[in-house]
């Protein structure tokens, strides 16, 4: 019985192949779009998640403020209001896990015949903790290296590749702005940062060495920025207050006067970035779902036409004993077959497009089992939902009226 009905539905669809295919196309495009959008959205979410965990957790960043004295505001970080002593004082606050004063910049680096321009970050050993950035071979420099401004360096993977190729950089001597530095260790792979920059294209040296030998800082003891890591995320707002108070007091900022530094909660920035990708991917999914809806309406439209065209057939079937549910099932089955078959093709199309997108644009896409299941579930539901009304219309026909239909 069931098999006979399936065979019949198949035949009915085969009788009007082009129309069946066109109806299916709506479903194919809808499901394809949903799968593609979900793959891209989930890929973006995953990428952001990776970036955030690579950045390090519970982070504040402190930037030197503007010099208000001249009356002309210059870019943040241009004035050197933050000092290493400030950083040390912040480290004493309860709830602060690690503090890393940083002097960032870029420099020309030479190894043998190889020449490479890369980011040079002067900081303390705490920087590696704050960024959760491990040394994968060799070793990190120590606080004593910072104190005595030793010419040592840690090298990121991209920089290492460009300077050393297949050679092991550990123990080799590179020249940064003419000064020789010994490579102590190689840093682990970090990937893209929030700004999209390749973080592995960098070299880390002790803060003091960077300031003296690389950048020739005008104000020794001051830094452009400080990264602060708290023990938990919950206490971040509290730390923000106590840190601001501490710095204003240390900088002798009067009540009502603007602070001479900027404090940013990086974690909340990252969270909102993650949130916005999540919202974006949901939006993409929602827009794609609209095309699924349109596909469903297409099915309903064609089923209505088909029911009208086959009125006489319905009459004949009723005359020889088809009950309402037999007719209902027959037309419902056709709608569901069309939508599920369309869904299957759409799934393949969507996965194909997603892989093509990944290959062409290097964006990460993730095709999850759940998105496949959702697509199938939605297709079957759409088939039943939009097929139901036409099928019911067929089933409710009056036998004699249907037989008289020309």
């Amino acid at each position: 019985m069931k098999l006979a009905m399936l065979a019949e539905a198949w035949r009915a669809m085969g009788a009007n192949r082009l129309r069946t295919l066109l109806t299916m196309l709506g479903m194919v495009i809808g499901v394809g779009a949903v799968v593609l959008m979900m793959a891209i959205g989930q890929g973006a979410q995953y990428a952001i998640q990776q970036t955030i965990s690579a950045m390090g957790s519970n982070l504040f960043i402190l930037l030197s403020g503007h010099t208000a004295s001249s009356g002309v505001r210059s870019a943040s970080g241009s004035a050197h209001t933050l000092t290493v002593a400030d950083a040390d004082a912040i480290a004493e606050l309860p709830g602060v896990a690690a503090v890393a004063p940083i002097h960032p910049g870029s420099a020309q680096v030479v190894y043998g015949p190889n020449n490479w321009n890369t980011a040079v970050i002067g900081s303390t050993p705490a920087y590696l903790d704050v960024r959760s950035w491990p040394v994968v071979s060799g070793q990190a420099f120590t606080a004593s290296d910072v104190r005595s401004a030793t010419r040592v360096a840690l090298i990121g993977q991209t920089a290492a590749e460009n300077l050393f190729g297949d050679e092991d950089p550990v123990g080799k001597t590179i020249r940064i702005q003419q000064s020789p530095f010994t490579v102590l260790g190689v840093l682990g792979l970090k990937g893209q940062g929030m700004d999209g920059r390749d973080q592995d294209d960098s070299i880390i040296t002790p803060l003091t060495t960077a300031q003296r030998s690389v950048f020739g800082a005008q104000f020794p003891g001051t830094v452009r920025m400080v990264m602060v890591q708290t023990t938990t995320q919950q206490i971040m707002p509290q730390i923000e207050k106590s840190m601001t108070a501490l710095l204003r007091q240390r900088h002798r900022t009067r009540e009502g006067q603007e602070s001479d530094f900027y404090l940013r909660n990086l974690t909340s920035v990252a969270d909102s970035a993650a949130e916005s990708t999540r919202v974006m991917s949901m939006l993409l999914g929602a827009i794609a779902s609209v095309s699924l809806l349109v596909g469903g309406i297409g099915i309903m439209n064609i089923m209505l036409v088909s029911v009208t065209e086959r009125t006489r057939e319905i009459g004949i079937r009723m005359a020889i004993g088809a009950r309402e549910r037999d007719i209902l099932l027959q037309f419902l089955l056709e709608a569901v077959i069309i939508s599920v078959a369309g869904c299957f093709i759409g799934l393949l199309l969507g996965i194909g497009c997603a892989l093509l997108t990944e290959w062409l644009t290097d964006t990460l896409v993730i095709i999850s089992a759940s998105s496949v299941l959702v697509a199938f579930g939605v297709a079957a539901t759409v088939g039943i939902f939009f097929g139901y009304y036409p099928a019911l219309k067929a089933a409710r026909m009056d036998p004699i009226e249907a037989l008289r239909y020309q």
């Binding site: 019985m1 004949i316 079937r317 020889i320 004993g321 004699i400």
Partner: protein, 234 residues
């Protein structure tokens, strides 16, 4: 005489038309007992098809009573009517009404699908019926590939496949030449011999001669009801 299969009292049917209600059948009284062979005659528009459609449970009367096997049809649900059409009544149309996309065998087997029989049993019984109407060799043809007479034989096979006790035929030979019509009528005679009750609409007196009883409609009234002369003689 045995109890009537069909008992009709005060049956009326009006159609809703643009010009108002049109009475196609008026106060028809009639009983048909098991094993009868009735020819329904009358001029065009006299209400014969209207009458047959009501007998076949395809349409409902506006007034009066129609009892089939002692049950009042008006009180049956749509599903119960479908089951009657499927098991108790076989209906043969003037225009054959075969499903064009299906083979002859599938057409004949279709009522059995709605009876819930399994595939093997359906095939067996449909093949048997096709054999009975002499079309075994055409089982896998489509309706469009055979003649009108053959199509009507397939339609009769379909009407009989579920072994109904009542066979209704509305001008079954109307679209056929007289020789083919005779073949169909021979089939009806044989079926009546087997005990199936037959009600058949026809314009042609020759065809009506096959019946044992002839009723005549005029303007929606049943105007005459008599035994066929050869039956009277017998």
């Amino acid at each position: 005489m045995s109890t009537p299969v069909i008992r009709i009292t005060g049956l009326g049917k009006s159609y809703q038309t643009a010009a108002g209600l049109f009475p196609a059948l008026k106060a028809v009284e009639m009983s048909i007992t098991a094993g009868e062979f009735v020819a329904v005659m009358g001029p065009s528009g006299s209400g014969k098809s209207t009458f047959m459609n009501i007998l076949g449970c395809l349409d409902k009367a506006t007034t009066g009573q129609y009892e089939l096997d002692g049950r009042s049809v008006a009180e049956l649900s749509r599903d119960e009517l479908a089951i009657l059409r499927n098991r108790t009544i076989g209906f043969v149309f003037q225009g054959f009404n075969l499903l064009q996309r299906m083979t002859l065998l599938e057409n004949v087997a279709l009522p059995l699908v709605y009876s819930g029989l399994d595939h093997a049993e359906r095939q067996r019984r449909a093949a048997e019926m096709l054999h009975k109407v002499g079309l075994t060799d055409k089982a896998d043809s489509l309706p469009s590939q055979i003649s009108g007479g053959q199509q009507q034989r397939v339609a009769i096979a379909r009407a009989l496949v579920n072994r109904p006790r009542l066979l209704l035929a509305d001008e079954p030979t109307g679209n056929l030449d007289s020789r083919t019509g005779d073949e169909i009528m021979a089939l009806f005679d044989a079926l009546n011999q087997e005990g199936i009750t037959i009600v058949l609409v026809t314009h042609e007196p020759d065809i009506a001669q096959h019946a044992k009883r002839q009723v005549r409609f005029h303007d929606g009234h049943l105007v005459s009801d008599q035994l066929t002369p050869h039956e009277v003689a017998a």
